[in-house]
Symmetry: D2
Subunit: 508 residues, 4 copies
């Protein structure tokens, strides 16, 4: 039996009252839904906590202050000093950012409102380690509104928005994070969240697994009181499954990365738009009539192919999995091996999660002006390292755009040095971040409130009913009206009127 199937039985699962009636929800938070004004920082880049974070920027200029936050003595306006941020005085600016983000995250705001009576996280002591952005702040303050105590560190040394961290600290959240931490700072911050006198966490929210790792290494006894881990990143989830396999996972963990709603938005829907955006912003190219090969026809590849086909490109697909390959055929794409089209295509896009999909040999055979980029998980899909040889000249022609020039003058256009195009050269819409944050909040609520025995020391997917609930909270944005089952219909289908509506194996 595969560990992946460790879903809790749906019949054993009951949602609290305040969650139930999503068919006719009021649209009270739908009033200010549009992401406008500032580029949002992506949430999902945590390949490692020391990745450089290309687009991160402070809104206000604080570069003149060279003192390390660790050496400063700061207090918020209430005299509290249990935090460590760059500059508490930036709080007001950060608060405004958070307020704008609130307008664009209607689901979390709806959650605050619905659960305010019941306080489903009352008693929860959550330690979190994520990017610190306005969107995360909305999440953290939502957890607070639901009754939780939180302590928070950054999962990436570059990605913190200092003003937002200041605003959280001003509001009384113990935040330990600033932009430009050293590695030592990084672990120090995490430790300050965990190692507190008179306070012990009973829930973990992690993004990348560093916080979980630290507690395993330094404070293994802490797990006795911990009710569960919620992990969002591919990397962190992978680590958890390894722990589980090794029999070392000592609390339930929830893999929210693979929930249906989050997956569809992070991959299919988001990439359908960001492939066009990333290519345009970097190259100003015209899509019409271009020949493109997309390597990999999973959700990301499906999104890229659909968008480019719609813009008039001629798209070829490569695949290793015959089922996805057959889907590509039925969707109208010629299925080829990369070598068959490498000489003729204008653009090559990798979306495989694999390594060395585009090799130096492929790069040698591309035509002049060919554009190469990566939309997949791994930085190694394109063998960029193989291009660092003396006979090739690199020319940086624009931010994120390199021309690699062959001795005969041929140029290959490499975007973002083979890193993720959509994170490096595009932005992640707040709506996508809202899906993720809502999923995290619900996973925390579920793990914290689950009766004894529902979850064992294993890695679980988000219960389908919770997944459906995340989706339902986002429907008002589209003025979308859900139909409710009649009693007779529910009986006929053998379903509860409030879901879950599909068996676990349903593919969407």
């Amino acid at each position: 039996m595969e560990r992946w199937d460790s879903n809790v039985g749906t019949s054993a699962f009951h949602m609290p009252e305040w969650m139930i009636q999503f068919a006719d929800q009021k649209q009270e938070f739908n009033k200010r839904p549009t992401k406008i004004g500032r580029r949002s920082l992506s949430r999902s880049i945590s390949q490692s906590s020391t990745d450089s974070y290309s687009s991160a920027a402070s809104y206000t200029d604080s570069s003149d202050d060279e003192t390390s936050p660790r050496d400063k003595q700061q207090k918020n306006s209430k005299g509290n000093s249990d935090f460590c941020v760059k500059n508490i005085k930036q709080a007001e600016f950060g608060r405004r950012e958070i307020e704008i983000a609130e307008q664009e995250m209607p689901a979390l705001m709806a959650l605050r409102k619905r659960a305010q009576g019941e306080k489903p996280l009352s008693g929860a002591k959550i330690v979190g380690c994520t990017h610190i952005t306005a969107q995360t702040a909305v999440l953290i303050e939502t957890l607070g509104a639901l009754g939780a105590q939180c302590r928070w560190a950054a999962c990436n040394i570059y990605s913190t928005l200092n003003e937002v961290a200041a605003a959280l600290a001003e509001s009384g959240f113990p935040v330990f994070s600033w932009k430009g931490e050293s590695e030592d700072d990084f672990w120090w911050c995490i430790d300050r969240c965990v190692n507190v006198e008179g306070w012990q966490p009973n829930m973990i929210l992690d993004d990348g697994g560093d916080l979980t790792h630290w507690i395993y290494k330094k404070y293994p006894n802490m797990f006795k009181k911990i009710k569960g881990i919620v992990e969002e990143s591919v990397t962190g989830v992978h680590r958890l499954y390894q722990l589980s396999k090794a029999g070392k996972l000592c609390v339930p963990a929830m893999n929210v990365n693979d929930s249906v709603t989050k997956q569809k938005f992070d991959n299919l829907y988001c990439c359908r738009e960001s492939i066009l955006d990333g290519l345009k912003r970097t190259t100003d190219m015209m899509f019409g009539g271009k020949q493109v090969v997309v390597c990999g026809y999973g959700e990301v590849g499906k999104g890229c192919c659909a968008a480019l086909k719609a813009m008039g490109s001629i798209v070829y697909v490569t695949e290793i999995d015959p089922i996805c390959a057959l889907q590509a055929c039925m969707d109208g794409f010629r299925l080829v091996k990369l070598n068959e089209v490498i000489r003729q295509v204008d653009i090559i896009i990798t979306c495989t999660g694999n390594k060395n999909v585009v090799t130096r040999e492929h790069l040698d055979r591309m035509k002049n002006g060919c554009i190469v980029c990566n939309m997949g998980h791994s930085n190694t899909e394109i063998d960029v390292a193989s291009l660092r040889t003396p006979e090739l000249t690199w020319e940086r022609v624009r931010s994120q755009v390199d021309h690699v020039i062959w001795p005969d003058g041929k140029r290959v256009v490499l975007l973002a040095e083979g890193r993720l195009l959509n994170l490096s050269c595009s932005t992640v819409p707040t709506f996508v971040l809202s899906i993720t944050a809502t999923t995290q909040a619900l996973a925390l609520i579920e793990l914290y409130n689950a009766p004894e025995g529902r979850y064992k020391q294993d890695v679980y997917l988000l219960p389908k009913k919770m997944d459906e609930y995340v989706a339902s909270l986002h429907l008002p944005t589209f003025d979308a009206h859900l139909t409710e089952l009649s009693d007779e219909q529910a009986k006929y289908l053998g379903l509860n009127k409030n879901g879950p509506f599909k068996p676990n194996y349903y593919r969407y």
Copy 2:
């Protein structure tokens, strides 16, 4: 733990040598792939064995012969009389039909060729109960070529093609089936397959569960020797799960209805085309500019919506499941309740699997000329019964097309009396039937050859590797070229080079 997750662990699973190398398969059977010449009979209609089968027809006219086949004494050219068909003399015509079908079912023909050395079904004694058509004949003869002995009855009293049954009998397959059986004939035929002196089945291939039911009822001891059941229909699968729940399932059963490949072709890909075909053949309407509401955004609904949008219709969607609802939004369809648009739409299509989705109240409010049809599983999605009232006049204007006329002269156009539009008013392409038949053959091979203990007395989904294999056998039709993992890549991904390539929970 949900029973639906009863997949065999992929790590424990090995494919025989002859299956393995699908990446570079030769295309020897790709030569005559096109379905041409005759309307194929649909395979999947077995709602019950006595449903009328609207498009069924004999190729040759044998109506003059009124004698019951049970009363005839017939022998094939080798003197064999272990069969019961309408007229053994029609064998030659049927053989030609089978030969045409062979050209359109390249996957089964490839299977014959690959497995001819090994004979993976050597020793298998298969009793089958399906529609008897040219496509089924290709399946039966493939099973024979792989080493099996087969006995066969029809799963529907109307759907047998007499000429094909004759051809099978002539080739030595004991077939008991003709077009227009009585219910008594139906069970007699099944019994003649099962109850044979000196022969006892060890495998069951069923479509609808009638054969399985008969053995349970009459010959329960037979299960001692039976290695497994392969069931294809929704109805039959439902029965098996009920048996399993009740603890009465005494052999492993394989639910091939829910394999990925079959599902996508039966639902998404097939319906994307047949919704247009069914509407055109019945009404000659123009799609451009029409307002349509599609009830249900599962695979069938997704196919219908995509096709109609592409033809210039304006499409609305209703849903009960918030996840599917959010997908509809992201795909560009307004999500409404049926009442919101019922007065303005030109066409209503149900694809829910639910009952009374379109009620008499809805029908009363539709505008004049509105077309109503059903693409879903159930006959009860449209409450047709509610239209059988004295104040409404029914006028049959064409085969499968009724005008229901209100007292004020308003006409509602009801297609196929609310039965499945795609089966009643369209045809199922042979390519779709080929996917199903290949899935059945591989399921039989797997169950028959599985080592002790791999399968218990439960209902299983087809192992993903088998599902992938079905897909791979159909790629040559599209001249599609699969990429093979390098050793290094397979290691990096932690995959076997020959699959399975995805975790069980993967959604495609």
Copy 3:
């Protein structure tokens, strides 16, 4: 200066009051818009008056009556005998057909209502020669309602619906036409329309040019009183331009074939749907994943390509015109020469208007099972004659479907023997016929009412304002709401608020 530009100056052109306000038209005829119930006969096939008309059929069986209508003495219920139809007693059935068609032709019905006060055709004596179908009857009776006297013959010896002709005769229209005329009958009927004592036509409505030809040949003096010719077919228009070139055109003629609205519906919109319908009805093939080459990227080709791409086919295009070729590129189709893809494609569709686009050499190189069909104007696009050689075997496998079999067993599937697929194997929606009939009616009104000197002895396109008016009359079907220019906006744009809205060279 090209004769094609002979549009009347738009500034010199005024519409009558009753036409003007189309922005807010009431939707009184929108109540029963759906084509249902019977297959409509196509209107546009008149390649010659003796073409066989494959789908023509009488609704009632009158084949037992072998007497020629010319030999019968018939009177309608009012005692009138100025007509010649198959059987006046079929009038009632025909009337019902006409009533159904009226519901599907809202634009003509709106015209009747709007113009009923003014009678813009008062005094017009129209002689017509078209197919005689329910749709034409709606046109003829509309002309009558607008004040015209009409006499009518058929433009094709097979296409008359006898019941409809009877209904027209019963209502007092002198109709001379029946299904299955001899060539002698054909000209006799035309002559009976023209050569009447005490009645001389002053307008001609022709489809194919035979009526015009007859008057030129037999009664040239009649042109002195004729105000104009309205011609609908490509063939007839071609003849008129030849007359004009030769200086022999002695009255103004209006080419309604090339009006914008009619062209878009006859070609782009109609073919986008009928290519799918024609292929499905003949072959039951699946479109997904199929490789298709479309020869010609004019309106018909654009429609075919868009539809097949949307259904998941991989589409290649051939073109001779570089502008259309560039459009194909920008729309995402690979532009090839036929030879480049002839061995790999599954379907070949010609839409060029050219001859020998698919040659015997191409046919020799096609793969087994390849489907060949024609959507273009000419019967000679596929060199079908070259296939009538002894070494090839023809096998008729279904109506309109031939297998042509090469000595090595290869089969090519030829549809409709190379004739127009959409007319032979599909149906023309009534909505398309409504566009054409409305265009004809407006052209007659315009020519009849034009002030001296507006039109000379030349061939004209329909004035743009009339073209716009045809479109506006069809918008209510879609519940479409046109925006009206404010006075200020009209002034800013230099336009009349009621149109025309575009310069003559505008391309749409």
Copy 4:
């Protein structure tokens, strides 16, 4: 007769030998086709010569030099001083820019190669007034290579790239232009091009009409030697038609703005991509599920609608022209009046060419967060002026993005202050500029070489054959292979094998 129809008769028209064989052109210039490296400057913004040009930038920093170029004494390396640019020393950098542009303008480079023997512009003395960019430089140097002498000024005081101007001067082209001219400088530069001792222009290439205006005003006698004017902008073309109407146009003029190829690329194809790009770059919004209304369904509107529909938006259309309205219906868009949807839409896009399409009243009724932008010709489509009232607060949140805030807190997001979104917030691909420049070059060749009498003192559209030639020169970029007519086919169609292939009224 409308002046718009003033096309030269196609039969009177012969192309020179070197143009003819475009079906099998070699792809020698296809080697480096991709636009990469720098944002190109748009060519088409010349609403007036003093418009601010938002994205214009020098590549190198020359701001430290405050001396007016008119006061400087500069010589190029050959000692020539007949030019006036910012800094001749920047020539090398500018040359590199031109070389990159050459790779992206294959059609002009092909023209150079084909015409190098014949020198079709030998003896031509062209005075030009356009934006001075790398793409224009490729055009100017092409004209030189074809035999012309050129003198050049800028048509906009902000748009000159100083480095490119320097490179042209260094190569011996008398260029008078720099970034940041005063209005006095602007006319001085034009005068320096025209008013030269011993040199008198015989051809004019204008963009906006300022050069033409200057000659009319100051040197009317010069027209005696001028063979023709080629004008590209809407504004300039409008001026020419006014001159013609007033009987004051004293030489032939060619309106290249309305050639088929240029129109399709400037409008349909370019806007299909730039609407997405412009919206993403300014707002980072997600398109999926958004409700959008597009005002105007001409080429620009069609492009916007197609793109947004493909990205999953729900699109409504408003129109005044019933023909375009019917097209919108058939393409699957609901046709509404703006008021019907103003409260519900997330985005409003104007593409009408009209004024006050979006009024203050509309703006008052929009929902919070609604985005408003303009893709049409006119700056006045959105009544931006009406928003400059005291009760509304404007907040600039990003470059080109304003929040207009109502007293109740509602925000409307206004992009580019209602100016053209695609020019302000997106870039024009070089491929589109290449189409325009090639059209200009061919128009100059045609007017210069036309035999006496072919063109009179009127405004002409580019002959169709030339239009086709422009298209054919761009096909190699797509590796597109044109089919050639056989002699037999050409005869059958009554066409010349080398085109033109369509009548003038053909709509594409």
